[in-house]
């Protein structure tokens, strides 16, 4: 038993910190310091900076452009980036379709898609959920019918995060309408510029357009864009969902929000208030429990163990703590929490984006498999209840 990182890992952490300090441009740093919302072009700017350093796709094997980091280093990299409040890169290419292509794609797909995901030339979004297929994803109805070398796709996807910025979408589509639920689904890559695709962004309760609905009206997609086997898309999707739950836990982001809470307390002369200090401490302890659980999962992964029960709870608790941290920030802001997209000078700059994020982040316990679904999985697979 040992709670410390190895000297090599500590050295890597210093390297990451130094990199952030020297390489993050001042205009991004200024936003990071006050937790401001990053525009898409700013996220992509940071993407390219990380790409130049070779850190943009920590999960990818070295021969395909990954940095060849071990599990702990990957965690350190992600935690430090979140702590520094660096722009969060879009996960859909780097952490989702990229790994899917690496695992299930053919050589032509690897050559066609992977380099542009790395460079940021092509941005991806995810087409899984539909209006009537949320938690029960396998009930999806978007259908793809074979027409020679093409599929004709018809249907509607929703929660296609940032589709308005994306070039490509990876979709789960029904290719065999007669098959039982999970079978008969295919993992298909669709160019959003194809005729018949319509993207309609909609506002979230945070007041920003984070999601879109995407409509497919007789969209012709080459059969060559199928990843894995036709009718076997569920296998690909399931493998994706299992990828590094540790990253979703957002340990660094929670730590950063706790730091923001302290800054708000400070700004409001509450930094000596015992009630406030106790609230922050409680949150910090919950954060520490999550962090240490994450470390346990990591240490296991480092030794090559299959993910243990500890990794399954990371999504549940991580999602809850993100919400609790923003909730505390809102409480500490007092009346300032009322201000909605305030003009300059209405509230301290640090607080200007909190209310919107606080609202939007109600999504964390819903997306990526709601906490209820996560609990079903744990009950069934870990506790043996069904």
């Amino acid at each position: 038993m040992d709670l410390s990182f190895s000297p090599e890992h500590l050295a890597f952490r210093d390297e990451v910190r130094a990199f952030i300090l020297t390489e993050m441009p001042p205009h991004l740093r200024a936003k990071a310091e006050v937790d401001a919302h990053f525009e898409h072009h700013e996220v992509m700017e940071w993407h390219r900076i990380l790409h130049r350093r070779g850190w943009v796709a920590p999960l990818w094997p070295a021969e395909l452009g990954g940095p060849g980091l071990d599990a702990t280093s990957r965690f350190i990299l992600s935690e430090e980036l979140e702590l520094a409040n660096a722009p969060a890169l879009s996960p859909f290419g780097l952490a989702m379709v990229g790994p899917a292509i690496i695992q299930y794609g053919d050589d032509a797909q690897k050559q066609r898609f992977l380099p542009k995901i790395l460079s940021g030339e092509e941005v991806w979004c995810q087409g899984y959920s539909e209006p009537n297929a949320g938690s029960d994803l396998a009930s999806l109805r978007t259908r793809a019918e074979r027409d020679g070398d093409h599929f004709i796709v018809n249907g509607q996807k929703t929660w296609t995060t940032y589709a308005q910025h994306a070039d490509w979408i990876f979709c789960l589509v029904r290719t065999d309408p007669n098959a039982k639920k999970q079978s008969g689904i295919t993992f298909l890559l669709i160019d959003l510029k194809t005729p018949g695709v319509t993207v309609r962004p909609f506002l979230t309760i945070g007041g920003t357009p984070a999601f879109s609905e995407t409509f497919f009206d007789n969209v012709r997609v080459p059969v060559a864009n199928v990843v894995g086997a036709i009718d076997a898309g569920w296998t690909v999707a399931k493998a994706l969902l299992g990828h590094e739950r540790t990253l979703i836990a957002a340990v660094g982001a929670i730590g950063r929000t706790i730091r923001t809470c302290k800054q708000i307390a400070d700004a409001h002369d509450l930094d000596q208030d015992p009630v406030v200090l106790a609230k922050i401490a409680r949150l910090e302890i919950r954060h520490r429990a999550l962090q240490m659980t994450n470390y346990r999962a990591l240490a296991g992964a480092q030794l090559g163990h299959a993910p243990g029960p500890e990794s399954s709870i990371l999504k549940i608790r991580g999602a809850e703590l993100v919400q609790q941290a923003y909730e505390l920030a809102m409480e500490l802001m007092g009346h300032d929490a009322l201000a909605w997209f305030p003009e300059e000078g209405i509230v301290p700059e640090l607080e200007a984006g909190i209310a919107s994020a606080f609202c939007y982040l109600r999504a964390t316990t819903i997306y990526g498999g709601s906490n209820e679904i996560q609990k079903n999985i744990i009950a069934k697979h870990l506790l043996g209840l069904s």
Binding site: F211, G334, P342, V347, E372
Partner: protein, 369 residues
């Protein structure tokens, strides 16, 4: 003990429920981007229905009803998020009633009852109100009346108020609170509107203004402010109950109709229990909100303070849980701006922040009121 509605109260609820049917949440949604944020026509209707004067004495044109009456009305209006500034005006009106003389009541409260004016209480300064209600704004007596300098923040509905009831400390009198009626159009008054999380408006108000002697409310400002804010808190609790009842009904309806895995999701026990927890919280908050409204009508200030603080803390806990779970059980659709549940959620966030947040009221309750 009697929690039954009187015949008059039943009529209030019926009329308000009828209004709510004609004025769905979509009306408030449409007014979010409007510079005024509420409807002057509806304001007139409310005056004609006698709602603005419901909890005001007959002397100013009101119907002499109770705060319980007003709470019943506000609860119904909360169910459709009606954005008209009734509560904010009532709060300021009661400050005037408590500290003003007959001429002042006639001049400032009566026009509100008739729907010709709206009122706002400008008291908050820093962002925080837990321990510190002390004014930094200061009033100095001189030729031609009182010179008031200072800044008031988050004056709810202050962007449209005809008159502002402003708190200020009297120069040279330590720990004093005096109340003045200031008009936004007076020279030296700057009103900067701002949007709030619930789609409504507030204002930051800068004051360097001279008001005549007859604009000072001569009564003791402290108990008047205290009463006014408690009235606001009690009515926030009533509105919160309306919100909880509404989102609970919406959620139960969703559980009954939404299908996943080939069944109604309401058939899942985990979700049934969550809905039951929401129901329990709603009823607990309703009990304390009712008690708070009754105590605001009463004469015992300590009992009033305890009851209001208890209700406001319960609102924080119940309201937060109920609205958050309403979103959670709606799933992704609950995160969209298009769905009404988010509007209720955000109004609840605002209700919890105004008229004293949970921390303030916990502390006040702990001190014995």
């Amino acid at each position: 003990m009697n929690f039954e509605l009187t015949e008059d109260q039943r009529m209030i609820v019926e009329a308000a429920a009828g209004f709510a049917k004609r004025s769905p949440v979509a009306r408030m949604r449409g007014l979010r981007d409007d510079a005024v944020g509420w409807s002057p026509e509806v304001w007139q209707q409310m005056a004609q229905l006698g709602w603005l004067g419901l909890a005001l004495p007959e002397g100013v044109g009101g119907s002499g009803g109770t705060i319980v009456d007003a709470a019943l009305l506000v609860e119904q209006l909360g169910m459709v998020l009606a954005p008209e500034p009734i509560v904010t005006s009532l709060v300021a009106a009661h400050a005037i009633l408590a500290a003003g003389n007959k001429a002042q009541r006639d001049a400032f409260v009566a026009p509100f009852v008739e729907g010709r004016a709206s009122l706002a209480l400008a008291w908050a300064e820093g962002p925080w109100m837990r321990y510190d209600r002390a004014c930094r704004a200061v009033a100095v007596q001189g030729d031609g009346g009182w010179r008031i300098t200072g800044e008031k923040r988050f004056v709810l509905e202050g962007h449209t108020a005809t008159h502002l009831v402003v708190t200020a400390r009297l120069a040279g009198v330590e720990d004093s609170v005096a109340l003045f009626v200031v008009d936004p159009g007076m020279p030296g008054v700057t009103v900067r509107p701002l949007r709030t999380i619930d789609g409504r408006r507030a204002a930051h108000v800068k004051l360097d203004v001279v008001v005549p002697e007859d604009r000072r409310l001569r009564g003791d400002g402290k108990p008047a402010l205290d009463l006014a804010l408690d009235l606001g808190a009690a009515l926030a609790c009533a509105e919160g109950v309306g919100i909880m009842r509404t989102v609970l009904a919406m959620t139960v309806e969703y559980l009954r109709t939404r299908e996943q895995f080939g069944v109604k999701i309401g058939s899942f026990q985990a979700l049934q229990h969550r809905a039951v927890d929401m129901f329990v919280e709603t009823e607990l908050a309703r009990s304390l909100a009712t008690a708070a409204a009754i105590r605001v009508d009463g004469d015992d200030a300590t009992e009033r303070r305890l009851a209001v603080s208890a209700a406001k803390v319960q609102l924080h806990e119940s309201g937060r849980f109920v609205t958050q779970q309403a979103i959670q059980l709606h799933g992704g659709i609950g995160i969209t701006d298009e769905h009404d549940v988010g509007l209720f959620f955000k109004r609840m966030v605002a209700l919890n922040a105004i008229y004293g947040d949970a921390d303030y009221h916990v502390a006040r309750f702990a001190e014995g009121g």
